[in-house]
């Protein structure tokens, strides 16, 4: 599609949805937000770089029948500022859509301004009291653990990429069959243009002795994968974990075992605390790879590289100071490569639907002596609707 057509397409899409609202108001709903995000990043040499963007999201739903629902979600992002001068092909980088159908467009793409749209959810969902089936671009979230999800073979979270909490999608089929006592049998198939990029997994989930347990097996890219996950408690603390083993069944893949175990608890009149560990047999000892986590570096990861290194520890404490103000500090220690990632967050609710966030991100490392590798301060205003 030519850029002009893309813009036209978007307007048609939005205006169609707007018409739908008046016409079939009962069955149609939408929500979303607009965020203004400013980032000042400082690299190891003290160079600063400013990036600004406006991020808008729409979540549309249409109830076709009592048990049939259509969902469409899109994000529009508008980038400006000096950052674009240093990364001249930024708009091109964003243009890449990893799905089966290309639904990602950088429809204005120059050195001053990039306007970008992606449809990251578009699915049809059918359900009854025994089954739930969803096909299309969607998120399949099978994680039980808190920060790192070795069982999440469909959509991976990069913790540092906090502005995309919905996470990238998968073009997939998901089938859930309900069993007794909240248990379920699940199947997920991620479509891809190449066979070695497909993922299909069967998962059995049950609840026993106050534990949610899941067992899964399937194919992940070039590997066979088996996994176990649980969420339970020890005394008053939550005890959760996930482990997945990958065995290559095609060439050019690596055997891997990835596991994460977490404890979380709420201190009385105090913060919510999370402590989590991650072990990854594929981890490398290259400290610079830690910087792959920064949102400006793209921030993409895969389930076999939830962290670039082998042994990691995550500690987070946070909570509400007043009904409007909450504070949070998250620290990841990449223990074996002597790297540290810190992310303090201040969240303030200015008005009912208007939130201010100030978020810091610092990467520190010890190659010969401890020093800052990269710092960033994000200021974000979010208006929800």
């Amino acid at each position: 599609m030519k850029p002009k057509h893309k813009v036209a397409f978007l307007f048609v899409l939005i205006s169609c949805s707007a018409t739908a609202q008046t016409k079939w108001k009962e069955n149609f709903s939408y929500r979303g937000y607009v965020k203004d995000l400013r980032l000042i990043s400082i690299d190891a040499k003290g160079h600063t770089l400013q990036q600004n963007f406006i991020h808008n999201r729409f979540n549309f739903r249409y109830q076709l029948k009592s048990n049939l629902k259509f969902g469409l979600e899109l994000r529009n992002r508008f980038f400006y500022g000096e950052f674009l001068k240093y990364v001249p092909n930024y708009g091109d980088q964003l243009e890449y859509d990893p799905g089966v159908i290309d639904m990602t467009w950088s429809w204005i793409n120059n050195r001053e301004f990039v306007a970008h749209t992606t449809i990251d959810r578009m699915w049809l969902n059918w359900s009854n009291d025994k089954w739930d089936i969803r096909i299309g671009r969607q998120r399949i979230n099978w994680g039980q653990n808190i920060v790192w999800n070795p069982n999440d073979l469909f959509n991976v979270l990069n913790f540092a990429n906090f502005d995309y909490e919905e996470r990238p999608p998968a073009d997939a089929l998901k089938i859930e069959h309900y069993l007794k006592k909240g248990g379920s049998l699940n199947f997920g198939y991620k479509f891809a243009k190449k066979w070695e990029e497909t993922v299909f997994v069967t998962m059995y989930r049950f609840n026993k002795k106050l534990y949610d347990v899941q067992i899964l097996a399937g194919k992940y890219h070039r590997d066979a994968a088996v996994g176990l996950g649980w969420a339970g408690s020890i005394k008053n603390a939550g005890f959760k974990g996930e482990a997945t083993y990958f065995e290559p069944i095609m060439d050019s893949s690596d055997r891997a075992f990835i596991t994460s175990v977490s404890v979380d608890f709420l201190m009385k009149k105090g913060p919510y605390v999370v402590i989590s560990t991650l072990y990854n047999t594929l981890g490398t000892s290259d400290l610079n790879k830690l910087l792959q986590l920064t949102p400006t570096a793209g921030g993409t990861l895969d389930v076999k590289h939830l962290m670039p290194n082998k042994y990691s520890l995550f500690v987070q404490a946070g909570g509400s100071v007043t009904p409007l103000l909450s504070l949070n500090l998250a620290v990841i220690g990449a223990i074996d490569i002597k790297g540290v990632f810190m992310m303090p967050t201040i969240a303030y609710n200015l008005k009912t639907n208007l939130d201010l966030n100030i978020i810091g991100q610092s990467f520190l490392g010890d190659s010969d002596k401890w020093r800052f590798l990269s710092n960033g301060i994000f200021v974000r205003l979010k208006q929800s609707f």
């Binding site: 309900y178 106050l210 603390a237 939550g238 009149k269």
Partner: protein, 260 residues
């Protein structure tokens, strides 16, 4: 992630509080004689019944107020499911309590999270009261020794005035509670919460008495901290119905995704 956690925490605590407050609304209907029997009746009333309702929670501070709207379903003290309907940023978030387990579902990121047991026993939004105290209120019969002090009038309604002292081994943070329970309709009109030094900490106050779901009850509940001027948390029941059958499997993690 961290932002989500903080929101999840708030909501969880809030909702655990609501469940208990609702239970106390359900309580006190048609008993009389001894003070223990009044309290025991209250406990019994909470068991086995189902409740369905919509409510509004208002956090009041000297310089601002914030409101939250919710729908809730509960069955006995074992099952509860709550859906946030506003504000829009939290809309669709669901909270499920099933026996001793607690989950949240956040639809925008399609995330189901199991919460630690300590989520049920922590402070409530960092505001006017601790959630633990509210939760503990549901086990008043077991944890406290009650004494009838006499009768008193609250908002023109004749009330039993009851003193409750925690039993020695009870894990309760309060030193003493003084409650006023309406003689006619057994509505808990007022409760003062004192700490172990006999200092007043919080006052619970009920008002706007009306018939909801076939019962005469207080539709507005307020909690006022003693030492913070202008601070208040208000809970208004907009609708309530009782004893409509709800299947146990309504209270499942799968259904959390469907009540929206």
């Amino acid at each position: 992630m961290n932002l989500r956690m903080s929101a999840t925490k708030k909501i969880t605590l809030l909702i655990s509080a609501i469940i208990v407050i609702t239970a106390s609304v359900l309580a006190f209907t048609n008993a009389e004689p001894t003070v223990n029997e009044i309290i025991q009746k209250a406990q019994d009333k909470m068991q086995g019944a189902t409740t369905k309702g919509t409510l509004k929670i208002t956090t009041i501070r000297p310089s601002y107020t914030r409101t939250m709207d919710l729908k809730m379903w509960s069955k006995g003290s074992a099952y509860a499911l709550t859906l946030i309907t506003s504000p829009v940023k939290d809309k669709g978030t669901v909270f499920l309590k099933r026996q001793k387990e607690v989950w949240t579902w956040i639809p925008t990121i399609e995330q189901l999270t199991k919460l630690p047991p300590s989520a049920m026993a922590s402070n409530w939004m960092g505001t006017d009261l601790t959630n633990d105290d509210l939760v503990k209120e549901s086990s008043m019969v077991d944890d406290y020794t009650h004494t009838l002090l006499g009768k008193d009038s609250i908002d023109g309604r004749q009330c039993y005035k009851i003193k409750s002292i925690p039993k020695e081994n009870a894990a309760v943070v309060w030193g003493k509670l003084i409650s006023w329970i309406d003689v006619k309709d057994f509505i808990q009109m007022k409760t003062e919460f004192y700490d172990e030094d006999e200092e007043l900490v919080n006052t619970f106050k009920a008002s706007v008495i009306k018939v909801m779901g076939g019962k005469t009850l207080a539709s507005r509940l307020e909690i006022v901290p003693a030492d913070k001027k202008g601070h208040k948390t208000r809970l208004d029941y907009l609708s309530l119905s009782f004893n409509e059958p709800i299947e146990d499997n309504f209270f499942t993690t799968q259904n959390m995704k469907k009540v929206n």
